[in-house]
Symmetry: C2
Subunit: 377 residues, 2 copies
């Protein structure tokens, strides 16, 4: 099957770029002397996961218990569920652990720690947990220096559950600008999580795992002293947001949406395609960057970007392609039925709109495989 024979819109994965992206971060993390625990929420695919993890058994990070369940069914045995645990999800956690999966949970309150400890005691199976640390005010977590909270949570866990360590995520790095700012995010992320680990240890609590990560900081850190593992997800595919902050180039982006030209509004300089926001997602992550890529950058069927051509607006199943405002580039001569490929703002969001990857290698338009991906909770 060739790309031009596929029904559109559909998701295309360039395996050459993916392999290069994976090798790049693996080499970095190895140089830094830590372990990589890839975040599988970006790919949600067993085929991709196997090409990213250290081994078929993991380690891995997930964002939902559905991911945990499906990756466990595919043989992954070392899984971190990196979203704050709700008490109502502990039965499912225990069931997965009873099947031999070392599933860890994350939390940042005494109430959660008590719920995890109670469920552990009642089942006779201690659930391991990481305490989330808030390194940059971005989302969840205990402040790195909040010894009272850290120790109280740790002690509550140790009454039945198992304190496995600390975790943080520099969510603020997605809006950082420039190499210096990114390096600062990475160092801040490291300092925060190591400070929390030291507080726990000073209180006589265990803290074997010190986990941090985001794609921007993983690619910017120069020292990970005190850290045991790095988590990152988007690095596998990259996207326009990552290119916009300088962590990759446009030519590194492995994911694109294949679309077909379905119309023109020639007076307005519009080309209409059958990939709207349902196919691209509504992520507009580049809209606040220095270059607003609209809903995505338009390439030819072989993946070569046209000059200054973007999806500037979208309805549910319609994308409106135009030359970037202010550009002197000409609209390419695309006829009804022609195919284009559109690079996404955010790989996690665009991937989530699709049920499989159509795998190609570089500029070769031969589809060598179709890999299923899953969604939902």
């Amino acid at each position: 099957m060739m790309l031009h024979e596929l029904q559109t819109p559909c998701l295309v994965l360039d395996a050459v770029r993916m392999e290069r992206n994976v090798a790049r971060l693996r080499a970095r993390v190895a140089d830094l002397g830590v372990r990589l625990r890839p975040h599988l929420k970006t790919a949600k695919s067993v085929e991709v996961a196997r090409r990213v993890m250290d081994s078929p058994g993991g380690p891995a990070t997930v964002s939902t218990l559905k991911e945990a369940t499906l990756f466990a069914a595919a043989g992954v045995r070392d899984i971190l569920y990196a979203v704050g645990i709700a008490p109502g999800k502990l039965a499912q956690v225990l069931a997965l652990r009873a099947e031999g999966v070392d599933l860890m949970v994350v939390l940042d309150t005494v109430a959660q720690a008590e719920a995890v400890a109670t469920a552990s005691r009642e089942s006779g199976a201690p659930i391991p947990a990481l305490i989330e640390v808030d390194c940059d005010g971005h989302r969840s977590g205990v402040l790195p220096g909040d010894a009272d909270a850290l120790v109280a949570i740790g002690q509550a866990l140790e009454r039945g559950a198992s304190l496995r360590g600390v975790l943080t995520h520099a969510g603020g790095s997605y809006t950082a600008r420039g190499a210096d700012a990114l390096w600062q995010c990475a160092e801040n992320e490291r300092k925060g999580v190591v400070q929390a680990a030291n507080i726990l240890r000073a209180a006589g609590l265990p803290c074997p795992v010190v986990s941090l990560g985001s794609t921007p900081t993983a690619h910017s850190a120069t020292d990970l002293t005190g850290v045991t593992e790095v988590r990152a997800g988007v690095f596998v595919f990259f996207d326009l947001v990552m290119a916009g902050i300088g962590v990759c180039s446009i030519d590194d982006i492995a994911l694109s949406v294949l679309a077909t030209v379905i119309g023109h509004q020639r007076g307005k300089g519009w080309i209409l395609v059958d990939a709207g926001w349902m196919a691209m997602s509504q992520d507009r992550g580049t809209s606040k960057q220095s270059v607003n890529q609209g809903y995505g950058v338009v390439c030819d069927i072989a993946g070569r970007p046209y000059s200054d051509l973007i999806v500037s607006d979208a309805n549910q199943e319609h994308g409106i392609i135009t030359v970037r405002p202010g550009s002197s580039s000409l609209l390419p001569d695309l006829a009804i039925g022609d195919r284009v490929r559109i690079l996404p703002n955010h790989a996690c969001a665009t991937g989530a709109q699709h049920q499989s990857y159509h795998v190609v290698r570089g500029a070769d338009c031969k589809v060598e495989a179709e890999w299923p991906r899953f969604s939902g909770w």
Copy 2:
């Protein structure tokens, strides 16, 4: 099963509100003397479709050939595929028609008309098509008064295919403000499509179908002279964007996302829940309205809105609930594990993130059914 027993996040559908919404538009359309061809792209559910259509056989509108295929398999026989046809999709159209489905396509260029006519001649089965008319510069379509283009497309179709009529969609109505502006959108939509129909008829071409619609204009039109059918989708569920433009009230919104509290950042006035943008979608359709609802309005588990409480920010699987900026309302006392329901900005976008509806009736938290929904292409 009760709502508080469901795993979160998940989609909740209030059947009482849905039935009221459907009855309201059906009564309007009947009064206006036209037929309703509901757009099933919002619900993507056979169970919902059967409660919205005139009969189990239709008529219906769809936005993808996957919808056409799955609704056809469920017995729908009169289907309009309302996105400009690509030549590569005609084989699938012909296959559905060969199964006895009266599937119509839409187009706005001579190139598409020629492709449809050629495929019709080669298969010996004329494909019926509507010419799309651009009533408000919003997206696709021929200008209503562009007689040359309309007649050229109609004539190209009639060389093998079948010109079934004209269609338009007042996409601009989604950003109209106030009843007068909405009425004007509706009248403009009607005038444009009727003008195009008259041009075709004056040229001796057939035009039995004159199709228009959007939820705002369907609820605002007072005269549909010359029109044969109305299309609308969001009216079934409604959403915050529709409430913001005044087409419904917040209490009409039938769709919500059930979420669980997973944390607090008390110093910042944040409550964290397990519904992020993956569960809500990234639709920010209210961000340019007079009231920005963030990623959604937060209600208690029975569907009653808290005062000025919204999801003000979101990550993939985290929602950050706050009091609306500038409000003097207090943050409700929600504990870890408590459930909330979040009303969406855009029913089509939020629905698309989920694989089923959990059906309740009004403030009763008993889940009386789970209806599957589908996605993809």
